[in-house]
């Protein structure tokens, strides 16, 4: 008699699930992931679901990387990143946002902005600390917080305030355990920005309750109605702020995974410890490319920003014509229209839009509290595709309203 050894083994052993750390096992799967699987299988889809530029990295940047590989530049760099790159980042941040950091001990080059956020949280969280997160927001903050042992506390923001964070909303969520506030303006997914005047009352609350701020400014370059104001540039906030940014959005370099963090030397030193034991250093090829982007890529960057702005006007006008309320997105490359009046939930709307109108967009609920009733539409796609997508959405909404 043949005994199936494999089956027997499996019956005798515990399920693999039971080996997993509960902290990790219990993290809910991303709402985006589920939708991704749905969209991947479909044909003739126009996607407004992409959270990255539609430009390929400019050729001079790619060429600089190829050249450095040809010359055999393949070794580790210093843990914090090449000093030339850190110097270029310092200069760039000073020129663009009037914040001043020492390249030697206040700047850390990371594997994407995501690693920088993870490092900052891990360096700061004592288990049980509460991490304040304005929502709707980028999908990683809450899971990274949980993995780090912190407790994510969402702060809902609203369309009627243009999805800005208000001092009252922040104050309402503060407890003795509050330690860190994560900010992401310009915002993914809402396109909201914060002005100097918007920041001042937030800074007061941060000071009053002795909070540390992780300010994810990855979309800093992509503002259209006024220049970005870094939270670190608000008087008194420099030492309380971990400024996180990177090359993905402004320089069309998502796949390179090049980010950085700037903060107080003690905090950077702590983050550097985790960084050096986990990833050693950011990839050298990416660092060479990032340096080229900062040295010779600013003009190309401005050209790309102008192009996003054109498409921003197009999509906003499109939603006005369709009759879906949409607050004016002033940053990033997302529009966040309200679909509430169609009577469908965000999930239903997005799913039916995909199946019936062949347009992929991400339901607002994937981004946390306050996302229900909204749809994230990326306008980082060609004018022709965008025009076609808006037509399809228009027909779909018309059909919903008249049926």
């Amino acid at each position: 008699m043949i005994v199936n050894e494999e089956t027997k083994k499996q019956q005798n052993s515990k399920s693999m699930q039971s080996y997993l750390a509960p902290l990790v096992r219990d993290i809910p799967p991303s709402g985006i992931r589920r939708f991704f699987d749905l969209a991947e299988g479909s044909k003739d889809i126009i996607t407004l679901g992409v959270g990255e530029p539609d430009f390929t990295t400019p050729w001079h940047v790619r060429e600089a990387c190829v050249y450095s590989l040809e010359r055999g530049r393949t070794a580790y760099t210093s843990n914090a990143g090449m000093i030339e790159l850190r110097e270029a980042i310092a200069q760039y941040l000073y020129d663009s946002f009037q914040v001043s950091y020492q390249p030697s001990n206040q700047i850390l080059v990371t594997v994407g902005g995501s690693e920088a956020i993870d490092l900052a949280l891990r360096a700061l969280i004592v288990p049980g600390d509460e991490i304040l997160i304005p929502e709707p927001c980028y999908v990683s903050y809450s899971p990274i917080t949980s993995i780090g042992g912190g407790v994510p506390v969402g702060i809902e923001t609203f369309a009627e305030n243009d999805f800005k964070l208000t001092a009252e909303a922040l104050e309402a969520k503060i407890t003795p355990k509050s330690k860190v506030l994560i900010l992401c303006y310009p915002s993914n997914p809402t396109g909201a920005i914060m002005t100097y005047e918007d920041w001042l009352p937030i800074a007061k609350v941060v000071e009053k309750h002795d909070l540390i701020v992780i300010s994810d400014e990855i979309y800093a370059e992509l503002t259209y109605t006024q220049k970005h104001v870094s939270f670190a540039s608000i008087p008194g906030m420099m030492d309380r702020t971990v400024l996180v940014s990177g090359f993905s959005k402004a320089f069309a370099m998502t796949g390179w995974r090049m980010g950085y963090a700037c903060a107080h030397p003690d905090l950077i030193a702590a983050m550097l410890k985790i960084h050096q034991y986990t990833v050693m250093c950011a990839p050298v090829m990416g660092q060479v490319a990032a340096l080229e982007a900062l040295t010779n890529g600013l003009e190309e960057k401005d050209r790309m920003i102008e192009s996003y702005n054109q498409r921003r006007r197009l999509i906003v006008q499109g939603f006005v014509d369709i009759g879906l309320p949409c607050h004016e997105p002033q940053g990033a490359f997302y529009a966040f229209p309200s679909i509430a009046e169609t009577g469908l939930s965000s999930d239903e709307f997005a799913q039916r839009l995909l199946m019936e109108a062949k347009v992929a967009a991400v339901p607002g609920t994937a981004f946390g509290q306050g996302g229900e009733g909204f749809l994230r539409c990326s306008y980082a796609t060609s004018v022709a595709q965008l025009t076609e997508a808006l037509e399809r959405i228009g027909e779909f909404v018309h059909k919903l309203k008249t049926s």
């Binding site: 985006i32 991704f36 679901g49 539609d54 702005n309 006008q317 991400v362």
Partner: protein
């Protein structure tokens, strides 16, 4: 030469990308009234800044292939008119696609199109070289066009981004 307004420059850039864009679309993209765009286009056309709206064709995709040559021409300038008169005599031929006055080793660069090699060769020997002030010609045939007027002719890899990403 005229200093163009910011609006006109933007209109030109966007039409250069795609000449079929409507004034309404241009107005939305730029963030101005449609009337302003129409006015700008009318002026640009009137001033011959916009010369023509034409399709960029990759002729090599078509079986009936033509040949194109870039001909370097050395000439003696005419008293009083310089190169203008001779350039005109050359560019009025319909088979001449473009004529540039150049710095360097030769004077005019003439792009000539023909159905085959012999047709182009005949044009050079019978029309171009006999012109009195033409001192010499050097004919270079184009074997393949990779990029023209900023447009890459090769089929490039399409958008390889994920359909949905955070």
């Amino acid at each position: 030469m005229k200093q163009l307004t910011d609006l006109k420059l933007k209109v030109l850039d966007l039409l250069n990308e795609d000449a079929r864009r409507s004034p309404a679309l241009l107005a939305t993209l730029i963030g101005v009234e449609e009337e302003a765009v129409k006015e700008a286009i009318a002026e640009l056309e009137q001033d011959h800044v916009i010369v023509k709206y034409a399709a960029v064709v990759n002729w090599s995709k078509i079986e009936d292939e033509t040949v194109t040559a870039l001909i370097e021409v050395q000439i003696t300038p005419e008293r009083g008119r310089g190169f203008e008169g001779i350039a005109e005599r050359i560019y009025l031929y319909p088979q001449v696609k473009s004529v540039y006055l150049m710095s360097g080793a030769y004077d005019l660069l003439v792009e000539v199109e023909g159905r085959n090699l012999r047709e182009v060769a005949n044009f050079v020997s019978e029309k171009l070289s006999p012109i009195d002030s033409v001192l010499s010609t050097k004919t270079n045939f184009i074997l393949k066009k990779y990029k023209q007027d900023g447009i890459i002719f090769e089929d490039r890899e399409e958008d390889n981004r994920l359909m949905i990403s955070p």
